[in-house]
Point group: C2
Chain length 341, copies 2
């Protein structure tokens, strides 16, 4: 049956942001994991109207105390029997510490039950991108204290620099940064998502994912997967990678490189289909808007208003079209191959 | 392609409760609607650790102000372009009034754009069950003020009594209650979920759904669908009915009776599969617990503790296994037939 579950029974705790409209954080993770057959407990760390890429949003953050209370609620009803945890954006150092304690406790519990490998924590250290820190500076040391407890960390290039304290300027320096992450933190698996570095072997408009599963003496075994860049600024791609790899690495017991290949196949299909549709959607909206202004049903806007309106339109059109592409989530057909770094 | 979207592009605003673990409210509605291909904006009215059927939970409610702010956030970024709204549990009269204003505004907007039928509001008037009011008494008049704006209301038997102020004691009095709902509130479509009334034609262990789409002069055209009761207390069945009928009635333009037949087919399959698995899960947990008490890894419990623990175990095992039965959500095979009441 093609609609039967893709993965065995797996209970996942997903701690990340929630947006009412659109797809980032838990709005991506929950559906992606559920569509594969996972039972997902979704602990939302914020509830915002939409993602911050729109440059305006409303909503509120969940406090450290509320996070602790929700977890206590799960425990008291024996609902803390998780096989995995996926942690994404958490607002502020105190709330992040609370999430960290949950991860550590679940790891300890698995060890105490004599099943130390039975719980898997995927940590997405959400701190910034492209050289910009977009969290408070006191969040960085908290992530550094949590990484040693995670099974897989998923920094982007900038976050890998922050955690390794190693500048990444070339494909060889990225190998060095990964080695530092394995050595310093003892994290068994590392994947650096969206690496944008020139390399003689790569096409000009390509990106890479670079990952490694360490040896028992903490030596990196880095691989890379090169894939075509899509000329569009999507939000939530890191969240989507995290959700899908979370499931693959542990549940299917795939080596990291195989799991990453599969994740990229899904992402490439969903992103390509979203981008194809985006152009058309934006064009249609632009025509409608111009017509409404001529009709007088919308007041004619000045240049600033128009720019803002177009940015909002494009942001909406760039929301990942996950729910229209269940086939890509469940059984991707695209093929990407990992090679040694 | 069997994984392709079941419904056309549909943008739904789902306003209901969120539980971290398990399946009620938006945790059911969002996945059900997304799995059919709907773009769901999920405005969560509470975040609780688990549903209240466990008899213990933690978490917090979202205030009326926060609901208003979230909706303002959607509007300011032109994200209020909904084809449907599904409203479920909303904590308190003030928050419910806020949700009501959203529904009314979306209806007015559709009318102002010259597309009065283009927005469809499914209202689940969550007030109580089996003769017990489980919301504050001041919530009841708010629901009475909202029902005239809804396109479809989904009371259970008790809520239908409250709204119609008509006692429901027989299959004929239920027809009368529906007539009152059409007449007094002008609501075009009504479905009373989980009707448990004896009738000479019905098997002893059966339940019914009774619905009606009114004529232009507000006369009821009631139908009923009889289906086998499953001897197990599930939570979230009303939410599941709401999510699935929401989508069917409008998007597929099915008459209400046909839509309800399809929804019941999905629900019957998911509930049956959940119940089948439940017995086994509870038995396994009971054995493990007894073993742990003998081993001394769990302290031997007194009768009260044991009863509570078993209630929690059963509650967890009765959580709807939606994510393991995507096939039943998307393409149910069970068949139920509506007949005239």
């Amino acid at each position: 049956m093609s609609d039967s579950p893709v993965v065995p029974e797996t209970r996942v705790l997903a701690v990340a942001s929630h947006v009412v409209s659109g797809y980032v954080g838990n709005k991506i993770a929950v559906f992606s994991l559920q569509s594969l057959g996972c039972d997902v407990a979704a602990l939302n760390t914020v509830q915002f109207s939409n993602h911050t890429g729109y440059r305006q949003w409303t909503g509120s953050r969940v406090s450290a105390e509320e996070i602790i209370e929700l977890y206590r609620g799960l425990k008291q009803s024996y609902l803390d029997d998780f096989d995995m945890m996926l942690s994404g954006y958490v607002p502020g150092a105190a709330a992040l510490e609370a999430v960290g304690r949950i991860g550590e406790e679940l790891k300890r519990k698995a060890a105490a039950q004599g099943k130390p490998g039975s719980f898997f924590w995927v940590l997405d250290p959400v701190m910034g991108d492209n050289g910009n820190l977009y969290v408070a500076p006191d969040v960085v040391p908290v992530y550094k204290s949590l990484v040693p407890h995670a099974d897989l960390v998923l920094p982007n290039q900038f976050e890998a620099e922050l955690l390794s304290e190693t500048p990444i300027t070339s494909m060889s320096s990225i190998g060095h940064a990964i080695q530092v992450l394995h050595e310093r933190y003892g994290t068994p698996h590392v994947v650096i998502t969206s690496v944008s570095l020139p390399h003689p072997d790569h096409p000009v408009s390509s990106l890479s994912v670079v990952g490694s599963s360490m040896t028992s003496d903490r030596r990196a075994r880095p691989f890379k997967i090169v894939f075509p860049a899509i000329d569009c600024y999507f939000s939530g791609t890191g969240d989507m990678f995290a959700a899908l790899i979370d499931d693959d690495v542990d549940a299917l017991d795939l080596p990291l490189a195989r799991a990453a290949e599969k994740v990229l196949a899904t992402m490439h299909e969903v992103l390509t289909k979203t981008a194809e549709r985006m152009q058309e959607t934006v064009e249609k909206a632009r025509v409608e808007l111009a017509k409404a202004e001529v009709d007088g049903t919308e007041r004619a806007s000045n240049v600033e208003d128009e720019k803002k309106r177009m940015h909002l339109l494009k942001s909406k059109a760039a929301e990942l079209r996950l729910v229209r592409h269940l086939d890509s989530l469940r059984f991707p057909k695209a093929e990407f191959r990992a090679t040694r770094l």
